[in-house]
């Protein structure tokens, strides 16, 4: 354990988690109004994983994630307004409206893409690590994915290659207990996914993914090890998504009371409590929430004011 950073930094984690929560709630509201096309996958309840992990990175590090990546991309530093705009399909969106909710990318902050085919980006995360190493960038490649993803072939190939090449990758499995509508126990014959690291002689940890400090700490250690040539890690962060899998899912498959008990283990609540214990005044915490709500509303309105992309741009960006 490397220990927690200054309180100011920890307050910033809270800020970031609030922004993500507020962002996702707005996206949810967009749905209801028919403003979002296709599908979208919200991450309320998982903010501590995104924030704790991304804040443990250095500037030159890269991050890749999934269709459930709004939080990760924002935590890595993408601007709220352009992220909203991408989901709304506006010209000012991160990807000019070409990617949408499932492909949020902002390479200027090291967010190297959200991938929508399960498992596809784990091998790509290896490549980012390899490229960084050969180019002398001293960079670590952080890779988020879900529990259900631990059963696809690309997971296995990626972890094996990362291990044998001692690539600077930190694999973070966000175990939110479900892959779509199916509980993990129905598809996975073992309890702790982190133990799959043993198949590759890889460092592992299974942690409370709702405790942002624990996530920060664990990823910091893993990133340090990766950067110093110690190879990759597999971190299983236990967490929970408050909403259904995607827009059309009322999550009726959840046992009674499950959501409620996780709501009591909400990452924002937990972190507020931790900060309180470190002596931060309740008023300070309240102000952070209020400021975040205002920032989200402003960004939302700005994004909504932006135009749709010009149709001609659809023919650009296929080739350089």
């Amino acid at each position: 354990m490397s220990g927690l950073p200054e309180v100011e930094e920890q307050l910033d984690w809270l800020r970031s988690m609030h922004l993500i929560r507020g962002f996702e709630d707005e996206v949810n509201a967009f749905f209801a109004k028919g403003l979002v096309r296709g599908s979208t996958h919200l991450c309320q309840g998982q903010e501590a994983v995104s924030v704790g992990a991304c804040r443990a990175l250095a500037e030159q590090d890269t991050m890749t994630c999934t269709y459930r990546g709004h939080g990760a991309v924002l935590a890595k530093g993408a601007p709220l307004d352009r992220t909203f705009a991408e989901i709304l399909g506006r010209a000012g969106g991160l990807c000019g409206g070409k990617g949408g909710s499932m492909h949020l990318t902002d390479t200027s902050v090291g967010a190297f893409g959200s991938f929508a085919v399960i498992g596809a980006h784990l091998p790509i995360a290896n490549g980012l690590a390899l490229g960084g190493r050969l180019l002398g960038r001293d960079s670590v490649s952080l890779c988020f994915f879900g529990d259900g993803t631990a059963n696809i072939g690309a997971f296995h190939e990626a972890l094996n290659l990362a291990a044998i090449w001692k690539l600077p990758v930190v694999f973070v499995c966000e175990n939110n207990l479900y892959g779509e509508y199916t509980a993990i126990a129905k598809t996975t014959p073992i309890d702790a996914l982190a133990d799959r690291a043993d198949s590759y002689g890889m460092a592992k940890a299974r942690i409370d993914g709702n405790d942002v400090g624990v996530v920060y700490d664990t990823v910091t250690d893993a990133a340090d090890r990766a950067r110093s040539g110690g190879g990759p890690s597999l971190i299983e962060a236990m967490t929970y998504r408050h909403k259904g899998h995607s827009r059309s899912d009322p999550a009726a498959y959840r046992p009674d009371g499950e959501l409620e008990s996780w709501l009591e283990w909400d990452p924002i609540l937990l972190h507020e409590r931790a900060l309180g214990e470190q002596g931060v005044a309740e008023a300070t915490l309240g102000e952070i929430g209020t400021a975040a709500a205002a920032a989200v509303a402003t960004a939302r309105d700005r994004a909504l004011s932006w135009p749709e992309p010009d149709a001609a741009t659809r023919l650009e960006d296929v080739y350089a």
């Binding site: 990807c95 070409k98 949408g100 492909h103 085919v117 498992g119 598809t187 749709e308």
Partner: protein, 324 residues
């Protein structure tokens, strides 16, 4: 007569096939308890039990492999690959194992497996969830490929696919699940037979899935201008019913093919090549192929709506062919 949706056509095909034949099983991600991401397998688990309706992990290679092996033992598995784009993750199973197993073994093994997958753009699912990928499999001998466009055909082609002693890929279309049609008694539809959906003397339009509906809409509008189109749904793109198209072109002497996917390496290009080769002298105008654009599929409405051939673009293409 009653009205059913395309989804309901598929769903009934699965129910009827499973009721009639104990060897039919269904497997895939969330097909059992959840009834499928697109609700096509709804009610199967309750009716046929968990031995025959199996939820799988997110493991497309394992799904296709399980279907192949089970088929080799004598079952008739119907595997679901949720979005057709994900066929890429189990491509070896579909392209190198499924269609070659009988041949490589000199006919010792039969593989009566069906793979269902959801095609289609237009819904804002972006580049990795919107493709129509039947063309990936055209160059792989040993696969039959069905692309139903209408509820009764959805039923009939899926039934025929399940009956077939060889592997059949059934591409459903996400944009059509809620499409409705008046149907009589639902029946099997022979694989490899196109349907002449509309008759007209001025040109032959061949269009599949979402494009069939747009072509019909375009044809209805053009009738007001005095242009009468024959509209043909190929229904299966492998085998491709070239004979029915040729028969029609004999009467109309003009051909427009409309498809959702890009042109290169497509069934539409294959059809144009075949008819050009076989019946060159029939044509009063060059045959024409109208396709989705040669880019990945964009997300924003203002982009994707141009990517797909619209009713207007189809109508324009018809006019160009007729006026040539």
């Amino acid at each position: 007569m009653s009205e059913i949706t395309y989804r309901e056509g598929l769903r009934r095909a699965l129910h009827d096939a499973m009721a009639e034949d104990q060897t039919v099983i269904v497997l895939g991600e969330d097909v059992a308890a959840a009834g499928g991401a697109f609700k096509v397998t709804d009610g199967l688990l309750e009716r046929f039990g968990e031995d025959r309706v199996l939820d799988t992990p997110i493991s497309e290679q394992a799904i296709i492999g399980a279907a192949i092996g089970a088929a080799a033992q004598g079952l008739r598995p119907v595997a679901e690959v949720m979005f057709a784009d994900f066929a890429a993750t189990c491509f070896d199973g579909i392209a190198n194992q499924l269609p070659k197993y009988r041949y490589m073994t000199g006919g010792q093994v039969s593989v009566p497996a069906v793979v269902r997958m959801a095609n289609g753009a237009g819904g804002g699912y972006a580049a990795q969830h919107s493709q129509s990928v039947e063309n990936w499999f055209l160059n792989v001998p040993g696969l039959k490929v069905a692309t139903p466009a209408r509820p009764a055909d959805a039923y009939g082609l899926l039934r025929a696919a399940i009956d077939d002693p060889d592997p059949v890929l059934v591409f459903e279309h996400k944009g059509l699940y809620n499409a409705k049609e008046e149907v009589g008694e639902l029946r099997r539809v022979e694989l490899g037979k196109a349907a002449v959906v509309r008759s007209g003397t001025d040109l032959t339009v061949v269009a599949s899935q979402q494009m069939l509906h747009r072509a019909l809409e375009a044809a209805a509008g053009l009738a007001a201008e005095g242009i009468e189109a024959t509209v043909i749904d190929p229904r299966t793109v492998a085998p491709l019913d070239v004979a029915t198209v040729l028969g029609s072109v004999e009467a109309t002497n003009r051909l427009l093919v409309v498809q959702e996917s890009p042109a290169a390496g497509s069934w539409g290009a294959t059809l144009v090549a075949e008819v050009s080769e076989q019946a060159f002298e029939l044509f009063d105008a060059p045959p024409r192929l109208l396709s989705g654009e040669a880019t990945p599929i964009p997300y924003a409405a203002s982009l994707e709506s141009h990517w797909l051939p619209s009713v207007e673009r189809i109508a324009d293409a018809v006019r160009a062919v007729v006026e040539f």
